[in-house]
């Protein structure tokens, strides 16, 4: 059976790539420390020696659209092109290409459909920065096959927070039941408090430092029950109108399990939003 080499949860900040590419004399003051933190975070994946990455993210109205919106979707393609014109335009993200693993995609789909999750699938999926940001930060050589999973955190009606937790827990079971010798890292990206297109956007910090501090504590200690008691679809709109991206962190907490302290925790208070990086290593798996 496949081995879970690491579970990683992270914010995704589309400006990181451009910032990291600037010559030192053109970098903003916050850049060197940001780059140092990301490179240190990257090492937590490298030491886990993964063979394959399951990438959990959320399409930002690129391919998935309101005429036909899935709540949870598994990529089922042998190859994924990635990044879109408007991401190149706004964030200077490069066009990318990733190799898939349709054996695992089909296993996840079959397992989900047999286990109470009516997952959608796509055989031709162009990925966006929710999935490519962690490649850029954690695996810039982009040398591993991936299986992407998209969640709907953008287009209401959204699934309940508890459903994200349940999917994360199930996802781990499905990966662990995959007949393979490969070491799989499950990597999910979301947001802490975040405002996009509203009056609180692009402030000197995330729109709610209070929510961010609470959320980091929930995630770092995988306090699932406490987090589920502390948030609802309605309350997640209050710290910032895009804070529903926190539910992708809940999904990763579901994969980790209740009250498991992360082996690696780091944060960085940036303009616009707080960065947060978490890595867990299943204790029974040697590094």
């Amino acid at each position: 059976m496949a081995t879970i080499a690491a579970i990683i949860a992270s914010t995704h900040h589309p400006f990181y790539f451009r910032t990291s590419q600037l010559p030192p004399d053109e970098q903003p003051p916050f850049a060197p420390e940001w780059i140092r933190k990301v490179e240190q975070f990257r090492e937590t994946l490298t030491v886990a020696r993964p063979d394959l990455l399951v990438l959990v993210g959320s399409d930002h109205f690129h391919q998935l659209w309101l005429d036909n919106m899935p709540q949870f979707l598994v990529g089922n393609a042998p190859v994924y092109d990635a990044n879109w014109y408007n991401e190149e335009r706004e964030f200077a993200l490069p066009k990318m290409k990733m190799v898939g693993n349709t054996d695992l995609s089909r296993h996840l789909l079959r397992s989900g459909l047999d286990d109470g999750f009516d997952l959608a699938f796509s055989n031709e999926l162009r990925l966006d920065h929710s999935v490519t940001c962690p490649i850029i930060t954690l695996r810039p050589q982009n040398d591993l096959p991936v299986v992407p999973i998209y969640t709907n955190i953008f287009a209401p009606p959204l699934p309940q927070p508890s459903r994200f937790v349940a999917l994360g827990a199930a996802l781990r079971r499905w990966v662990e039941s995959w007949e393979s010798d490969l070491r799989v890292a499950i990597i999910g990206t979301g947001h802490l408090s975040l405002e996009l297109g509203g009056p609180l956007q692009f402030g000197p910090h995330g729109p709610s430092p209070e929510f961010d501090a609470q959320a980091v504590d929930w995630i770092a200690n995988s306090k699932i029950s406490e987090a589920l008691q502390g948030v609802s679809l309605e309350s997640l709109a209050l710290p910032g109108n895009a804070t529903h991206g926190f539910m992708d962190f809940l999904l990763m907490m579901g994969a980790v399990g209740e009250s498991v302290r992360a082996d690696y925790v780091d944060t960085y208070d940036l303009f616009h939003t707080m960065e947060a990086y978490f890595t867990w290593y299943p204790k029974e798996v040697p590094l």
């Binding site: 930002h60 109205f61 690129h62 659209w65 309101l66 005429d67 036909n68 879109w84 014109y85 408007n86 335009r89 706004e90 953008f154 287009a155 209401p156 009606p157 996009l196 297109g197 509203g198 009056p199 609180l200 956007q201 692009f202 402030g203 709109a237 109108n241 895009a242 303009f271």
Partner: protein, 121 residues
């Protein structure tokens, strides 16, 4: 008509570099063209299967031809779609990094502390 149609405008224009430029230069021309061409097209379907009922209301039309993101916000257009397209339209006119984004936020100041418009479609 519905928030969906507004969102469809923002989505279909934002993803096409040529349409972004046409919308910046001549919003009336672009919005009028869009109502006739892209609005009724069911995405991912052949044009012969076009919608028979999709259109903008006069209020929505007015907001779009005036590049009025405040009105779009109040109408419940998805704020991520509006922001992304408007950055493409106007960020270039500001010298400071994030200058446009901060001006955009200031323009919505009246919503601070209030429940935002419902964006569900």
């Amino acid at each position: 008509m519905s928030k969906y149609v507004l969102n469809k405008f923002l989505y279909t224009v934002d993803r096409d570099p040529a349409l972004v430029e046409r919308y910046r230069e001549d919003p009336v021309e672009l919005v009028d063209w869009w109502r006739q061409s892209l609005a009724p097209q069911i995405l991912n379907c052949h044009e012969i299967e076009a919608s028979t009922w999709i259109d903008l209301t006069s209020q929505e039309y007015h907001a779009l031809v005036h590049h009025d993101y405040r009105a779009l916000f109040a109408l419940g257009a998805h704020p991520f779609l509006t922001l992304t397209l408007f950055i493409a339209l106007f960020e270039r006119d500001y010298d400071e990094p994030l200058g446009f984004q901060l001006a955009y936020a200031a323009g919505l100041e009246e919503w601070k502390g209030l429940p935002y418009p419902d964006i569900s479609t």
